[in-house]
Amino acid sequence: MSTHHDPSTDVTTRGDGALPERFDDPGLHEHRARVGDSDPKANKRAERQVVVLFTISILGTIGAIVAYALVPPGETVGTMRLSNLLLGLGLFLGLAGIGLAAVHWAKALMNDHERAEDRHPTASSDSVRVKAVEALREGAKDSAIGRRGVLKGAMVTSLALFPLAIAVPLVGNLGGGWDVSQSKRTMWRRGTRLTIDPSGRPIKASDVTIGSAFHVIPEGLEETEHPLNEKAKAVVLMVRMDPRDIKSEQGEGWSYDGILAFSKICTHVGCPVALYEQQTHHILCPCHQSTFDAADGAKVVFGPAHRPLPQLPITVDDEGYLVAQSGFDSPIGPSFWERLT
């Protein structure tokens, strides 16, 4: 911006420095004729352009129908893509042609003289307003609402109660989610086998090599009434590291020979946290970058989570398969549930 003021355009420095009382309405600026207004050839050309645009639309629509009939989506990605492309192009040309033609028609061929429309107050006239207030007052007097107390009470009660007819079924249909304690328990019990997600194969401790990450579901998950609900709570990430790397655990003897199992539900807002980096033993949550140190009792080392991922105490059964010693010791998932206990 220039600091040099031009006195002819700068209102504040004009004359004695005072603002004028009112700015005059500058009115519409001078009408500038289009080429097509004086030159019939240009007018004809604009008309042809509009016709061409409408023709493009017609061809696009026909093209879309032809493409639908002749180029089915088929079985491969290539044919689906071609079918989508042709249908989309046809639709685009069909609609864009109409839109462009309409705008071009209005701009180049229709009357383009500027017009001003004054704004008027929207309120009704004073006499009409006085009459309306009078009618309302008369109605209230006629109903005698001020005197008949029981009638007034009945009316207010019925009006206040009616929304319940909609609200109660609406809230009631939210399902069986009213038993809050459901969210505190998972499927894990003493002796529940750890199995591979999604195949459900049980896991032998000897099969878990150092550096491994297993995604684990409890045995019998598919036989439950709501497998997905149970899975959402019970999923576990199981890793194995050199036992000498383990700095701490959430409970004495909760791991087995370097094999550790943690809830896969982030304690921040419940995202599945499973990005395990086997060299640093960090478990990273992809949603908000909460990072847990699997070698140090899943302690939070970075990010917004407030408490460690609950550790699942594990051991092996007689056949060498990994089983849970018990359920989770602390609530899984967002820390909200912890406050309810």
Partner: protein, 267 residues
């Protein structure tokens, strides 16, 4: 700036700006596209052990020790883990994708142009495999995408891989500057070897966790993704970032252009 300010009301300014934005988008995409990792498969042969040892001592011993016993990093110098028992698969993956020999320190070792030819990689793999038992290089049949079940592969990929490598294998960020690379150009053999050996941050997925057949299913699923998306451009399959960029720059740009055109007087 004055010249720019004078021209910003020019009638072609919106069009010029839109073209510049498109050009920028294209340039950013071209730069951000991952370089293709050209890798070749090698078949190990025991007669190559001696040749592999020579190659190893010339190229790898600085970090991994003269007999691959590993070496601690001292005073900022190079150090590397022991390679006894890592198997031929680890060598074929690390050298075959150009990650080894490593050229510089950083958050993680990067894939780069391969330094050795197929025969040399096979000799190195044979030497390291001779040091101790470890996973071997998978056969052609084990990694053949046409023999795998892509639907089952998707279920396995979603459970075990997608959190780091993205739902279609486009790659993603890890902590502290590390990242999970895109799998779009990785050969089936290298995908198999990576699952088997767990390079760098990646955990190991041994044959008890993901069976050889299931590994082939995953390869089949990733192979399907290479045909692209039936919906059209994938925009990198990175979700809201790529799609949002297009919607805001191209989509809103076109809307602005259209409203400027509709509002302008016909000449």
């Amino acid at each position: 700036m004055k010249a720019l300010a004078a021209r910003r009301h020019h009638r072609s300014a919106p069009v010029v700006l839109l073209l510049l934005a498109l050009l920028l988008t294209g340039a950013v995409y071209a730069i951000a596209q991952p370089a293709s990792a050209d890798a070749a498969q090698a078949a190990a042969s025991e007669s190559d052990v001696a040749a592999g040892q020579k190659l190893f001592q010339a190229n790898c011993a600085t970090c991994h020790g003269v007999s691959a016993e590993g070496r601690e990093a001292v005073d900022g110098g190079a150090g590397g883990p022991s390679l006894i028992g890592v198997g031929a698969a680890a060598v074929d993956f690390q050298v075959g994708t150009g990650r080894m020999p490593a050229q510089m320190n950083g958050a993680q070792i990067q894939a780069k142009p391969v330094q050795f030819d197929d025969e040399q990689i096979a000799q190195l793999a044979a030497y390291v495999a001779s040091l101790g038992a470890g996973p071997s290089i998978p056969s052609e049949e084990q990694v053949d995408p046409s023999k795998g079940d892509a639907a089952n592969g998707m279920a396995l990929f979603r459970t075990n891989c997608a959190m780091c490598h993205n739902a279609v294998g486009a790659g993603g960020a890890l902590s502290q500057g590390k990242w999970a690379p895109a799998l779009t150009d990785t050969t089936p053999t290298h995908i198999y070897e990576a699952m088997l050996t767990g390079p760098q941050s990646m955990p190991v997925f041994n044959d008890a966790n993901i069976t050889p057949d299931e590994k082939r299913d995953i390869i089949a699923y990733l192979d399907e993704q290479r045909d692209g998306s039936p919906g059209g451009l994938t925009l990198g399959s990175l979700g809201p970032v790529g799609e949002g960029l297009w919607a805001w720059v191209v989509g809103i740009g076109l809307l602005i252009g259209a409203s400027v055109w509709i509002g302008a007087k016909s000449s």
